[in-house]
């Protein structure tokens, strides 16, 4: 433990100690300052700040010794756990029995559900009526207007590819669902963000809520949503909104709070009312953040589109999911590719729109839009009159077969018996025996109170007393829920997966930061990894690593890697070139520059990468349950499959607690200001 503790003098503590004691006026940095800031005299404060982690480590050691004497060892004591299966079972029965008759359902939830169905249906019918020609043309001209010719061609190609893959109708279904879900997320997120942006109290109240929503693994709340709304589109849309609204809220608040004080002052002095100031000054100034929020909401919603197929959302996700039943990777990929394409197109177009904001509107903008509308209408009508509304069957390509052959070849040759290095199955077995098993037995061997203590100490070293308290409470919550052991099993998998992710991710990220060419080459690969539905690689990981915890770890690594690589590369690239130059002129070797200048300077970015790695790995824990990972992930899947609220919800809640704990333990003290790209 001391090994990790010593180098971790928190940057914020160091910085604020160097500044004047009053440095913390903004509420944000006050929250970020360490408790050392409360120390009375400057020298004692500096001392505390400098030796903070050592002090914490020493304190932890003393407490560990004391605990060993007073409390003994063992797992979480049963008398301190609450068995929720009774009440949860009753709740679930009550909902099922009253769903068709109780006023709450008839007059409130039923209408919500109806509204969702009606809006999705409306959008879907419009898309169908426009036909493939109309939709593709519309995508092209919209992209052309907001993002230029290159992206317009890209969008047309992407939509054509969806048709070519034989996925036109499912793509339209997914698109209809996405439009409604994103609109609702933007509305809800925007309102929350508006409240948080205008009122400090709301900001304080909302922040932990949004934090929590962001570490929630999506699977965890599918079950309650399904129970209330039943299988199908309404539940899927609502689950998606829960998932996609937080980034919008966060970025709206950020944009409003970041409004230039000078401009606001000017607006006020001109006698503008609060509402006028909001509409004419604050919101326009926050346009970039609002657009980034929209972009993030879209990405989150798309990633949810597949997960929601588990609860009957239909569309592309359902095709991926159905392909799995016949163990058909090719077919799953054929449905997965349109999701990736939609994600890339929507991401690039909204990002380009954001980048163009603030440019003077080009002359003839209105004419351009008129042309765009005309082209779309013409294409739609042409499609209608030639009787080609649906994508022509003859124009489809079968990619499933070659893909399956490739996967078969790969798994047949790599699975076992490769000379010298051994097959992937052997690696997986070794990884399980040499890494996963020891970590798991180590964690379960630790007495429960020692785990809490270690969690608290780690959180205190890297964060503040507040984050430490949250982390400890979250961990204790797992014990109270009565799932201590499976949670530690899951934790061991998460730790192993994060370790692998970080090793590969840091290496790749550093390499990418040093070579622009590699960086360019990596970008599409990372895009694909990040947006490809996790279900698609479920079969390949099992085919390579066998059933068990090893493929679960592999799936998690694949999912979390892109974010880690991106953040690392960005952090490294952002290191002040002057510092590197200075080191070089002093005769430092490349290695020395990297280890002694670049890495330390990129430390905040690296910490953020660790944090994101942890959160993302945890998000795949449930997927791990589908390939034999067991533990909490399996319990969530079991709960969903059996409609067993007690098992599923408790496991889901435990994953949330685990997520909160890990987030707090790894959260860089300088809080991330924006929900960064890939986060």
């Amino acid at each position: 433990m001391t090994a990790t503790a010593t180098p971790a003098t928190t940057p914020a503590a160091g910085a604020s100690a160097a500044d004047a004691p009053e440095s913390a006026h903004a509420p944000d940095s006050a929250a970020a300052t360490s408790p050392a800031a409360a120390a009375p005299s400057g020298s004692a404060r500096t001392f505390l700040a400098r030796h903070r982690s050592r002090l914490i480590a020493a304190g932890t050691a003393v407490l560990l010794l004391l605990g060993a004497f007073l409390l003994g060892g063992g797992t979480w004591p049963g008398r301190m756990a609450v068995d929720l299966s009774g009440p949860l079972g009753d709740t679930s029965d009550w909902i099922i029995d009253n769903r068709d008759s109780h006023p709450l359902f008839l007059h409130v939830l039923g209408h919500v559900s109806n509204a969702v169905v009606l809006s999705v249906r409306a959008v879907y019918l419009v898309l169908l009526a426009a036909g493939w020609a109309g939709v593709t043309a519309a995508a092209g001209v919209i992209a052309w207007r907001v993002a230029g010719v290159r992206l317009a061609l890209g969008s047309v190609a992407a939509f054509a590819a969806c048709g070519l893959l034989g996925m036109w109708v499912p793509t339209m279904q997914t698109l209809a669902l996405m439009v409604v879900a994103v609109a609702a997320s933007v509305l809800l997120g925007g309102l929350l963000g508006l409240a948080a942006g205008l009122s400090d109290r709301m900001h304080r109240v909302l922040r932990p809520v949004l934090d929590t929503m962001q570490v929630l693994p999506a699977f965890a709340y599918l079950l309650p949503v399904v129970l209330v709304f039943g299988i199908g589109v309404p539940a899927a849309v609502l689950a998606t909104v829960v998932y996609a609204a937080p980034p919008m809220a966060r970025l709206t608040a950020l944009g409003l709070r970041g409004a230039d004080a000078g401009v606001m002052e000017a607006a006020a002095s001109l006698g503008a009312t609060a509402r006028q100031r909001l509409l004419t000054a604050r919101l326009p100034l926050a346009r970039k953040e609002l657009l980034l929020g929209l972009n993030q909401s879209i990405m989150m919603a798309l990633s949810m589109a597949v997960i929601a197929s588990v609860i009957g959302a239909g569309g592309l996700g359902d095709r991926v999911y159905q392909a799995l039943a016949s163990v058909d990777v090719g077919a799953a990929l054929a449905a997965g590719v349109p999701i990736v394409l939609l994600a890339v197109v929507l991401d690039r177009v909204t990002a380009a729109a954001g980048a163009r904001l603030g440019d003077a509107p080009a002359r003839g903008a209105r004419l351009g839009w008129a042309i765009a509308a005309a082209v779309t209408a013409a294409a739609a009508l042409a499609g209608r009159f030639t009787g080609r509304l649906g994508w022509p069957d003859a124009w489809t390509l079968d990619v499933a077969e070659p893909v399956n052959r490739a996967v078969d070849w790969m798994t047949a040759h790599l699975y076992t018996g490769v000379p010298v290095i051994g097959g992937t199955a052997d690696w997986a077995a070794h990884f399980t025996t040499w890494v996963l098993d020891p970590v798991r037995s180590g964690l379960t061997w630790l007495p429960w109170w020692a785990v809490l203590l270690l969690v608290g100490a780690l959180a205190l070293i890297i964060g503040t007393w507040r984050t430490a308290a949250t982390a400890v409470l979250a961990m204790a919550g797992i014990g109270v829920l009565g799932v201590w052991e499976p949670a530690l099993d899951t934790l061991s998998q998460v730790l192993a997966a994060v370790a692998v992710t970080l090793v590969i991710g840091f290496a790749t990220g550093i390499a990418a930061a040093r070579s622009a060419r590699l960086n360019r080459a990596l970008r599409p690969v990372l895009d694909v990894f990040q947006t490809m539905p996790q279900f698609v690689y479920l079969i390949p990981v099992v085919a390579l690593f066998g059933v068990g915890r090893a493929p679960a770890v592999a799936a998690a690594v694949v999912y979390a890697l892109p974010a880690v690589v991106r953040i690392t590369a960005q952090g490294m690239a952002a290191v002040d070139p002057a510092a590197v130059e200075a080191a070089r002129s002093l005769g430092a070797t490349g290695r020395q520059q990297l280890l002694q200048v670049q890495l330390p300077l990129a430390r905040p970015a690296l910490l953020l990468a660790v944090n994101q790695g942890v959160v993302l790995v945890l998000a795949v824990v449930v997927i791990g349950g589908l390939v034999g990972g067991g533990a909490l992930g399996y319990d969530v899947v079991f709960g969903l499959a059996q409609g067993d609220l007690a098992t599923g919800l408790v496991a889901g809640a435990a994953i949330v607690c685990l997520g909160l704990m890990l987030d707090r333990v790894t959260q860089p003290t300088e809080r991330r200001a924006t929900a960064g790209k890939g986060a």
């Binding site: 099922i96 769903r99 068709d100 006023p103 359902f105 007059h107 939830l109 559900s113 109806n114 509204a115 169905v117 009606l118 249906r121 879907y124 019918l125 169908l128 209809a176 709304f229 039943g230 299988i231 199908g232 589109v233 309404p234 509402r275 197929s309 609860i311 009957g312 239909g314 159905q322 039943a325 016949s326 163990v327 058909d328 090719g330 499933a400 399956n404 798994t411 047949a412 199955a425 997986a428 399980t432 479920l538 079969i539 099992v542 085919a543 066998g546 059933v547 068990g548 791990g624 349950g625 589908l626 390939v627 034999g628 067991g630 992930g633 399996y634 899947v637 079991f638 059996q642 409609g643």
Partner: protein, 318 residues
């Protein structure tokens, strides 16, 4: 100052307008994609195994080509499918492996679901070893001898014991209790999904490795990886009543169809057709294999089967 109050009032009015204008029946909500082009629509639930896909594929093909319906399919796990059936989100389940608790709740108590009769296929769950292994060691097919082979069946996941591979969490299983009550030196490892389980079995078979797995008939995989059942203590009526104390084999279950009650009464030709839909294990497997092994799309597989078996399906048409 008046403005916020007006806004609140407007919001409240909106809410009342939205909620107050009558009850919204949660049991009457179809999929937004249903009947998109003005057609009569049937929504069928597809479970995650290929046999269920085969039923749905053939039913869908005939409903569309012979009776002029549009068919939507939704993939749902078994228990949630009952829920969806009761709410009218789906109209029919074509293959159910027995859910007494749901039958009691939805058929007897609430009446929202109606029995649809036999599918014609009998299902059976059991423990299986690959035939190549059973031929080498014939005594492995009796549960009493399983412990002898625990060492050979060990994997990294099974923690020093033999591995009994189980599948999807949605399937009916007593395996944990069985291992405990029969006092076997085995560890149940849950693959977590049928896809993972099949992939693993195929990998074992490629390497001719021994394995022991929970599996079920009818299933297309038997044609690819021949498997032999391990005899468990004989099944007697009610021996599996207490899930904690089970120490006997799984029963043979005639698989059942279930319909949403409203659909069964007012579903017209579609409901009449689905009620008569009934085929054999062999026929189902033919279609399953085309889907899973030859990787035909369910639609193509159904077309092939329908073209070759007209006398069979003619009788199902109303």
């Amino acid at each position: 100052m008046a403005r916020p109050r007006i806004a609140v009032l407007a919001a409240a009015l909106g809410l009342v307008a939205l909620t107050g204008c009558g009850a919204a029946d949660m049991t009457k909500q179809a999929s937004p994609y249903a009947a998109a082009q003005g057609a009569r629509t049937v929504t069928l639930s597809v479970q995650s195994w290929v046999g269920a896909q085969a039923n749905v594929a053939v039913a869908q093909y005939l409903l569309e080509k012979e009776l002029g319906y549009r068919v939507d399919t939704v993939q749902i796990d078994e228990v949630p499918a009952w829920d969806a059936l009761s709410q009218g989100r789906v109209d029919a389940i074509l293959e159910d492996w027995g859910h007494p608790e749901q039958e009691q709740r939805y058929i007897e108590d609430k009446g929202t679901i109606t029995r649809g009769g036999d599918l014609g296929v009998t299902g059976h769950i059991g423990w299986f070893v690959p035939t190549y292994f059973a031929e080498k060691h014939p005594d492995v097919t009796d549960w009493r001898n399983l412990d002898k082979y625990a060492d050979e069946l060990r994997t990294a996941e099974s923690g020093g014991k033999g591995q009994l591979l189980d599948g999807s969490p949605s399937y009916v299983t007593n395996d944990k209790a069985l291992v405990k009550n029969l006092d076997l030196d085995y560890q149940v490892v849950f693959a977590g999904s049928e896809a993972a389980q099949i992939t693993q079995i195929q990998q074992f078979a490629k390497a001719e490795k021994p394995f022991l797995s929970y599996w079920y008939k009818p299933q297309w995989l038997f044609e690819k990886v021949p498997m032999t059942e391990v005899k468990l203590p004989e099944y007697t009526e009610g021996c599996d009543a207490d899930p904690e104390k089970v120490a006997c084999a799984y029963p043979h279950t005639p698989l059942q169809k279930f319909f949403n009650t409203r659909f069964a009464d007012k579903g017209g030709d579609a409901a009449a057709f689905l009620k008569k839909f009934r085929w054999t294990e062999k026929e189902q497997n033919e279609v399953s294999l085309m889907i899973a092994e030859q990787k035909l799309s369910p639609e193509e597989a159904a077309r092939k089967w329908v073209d070759a078996n007209e006398p069979t399906w003619r009788e199902w048409l109303p």
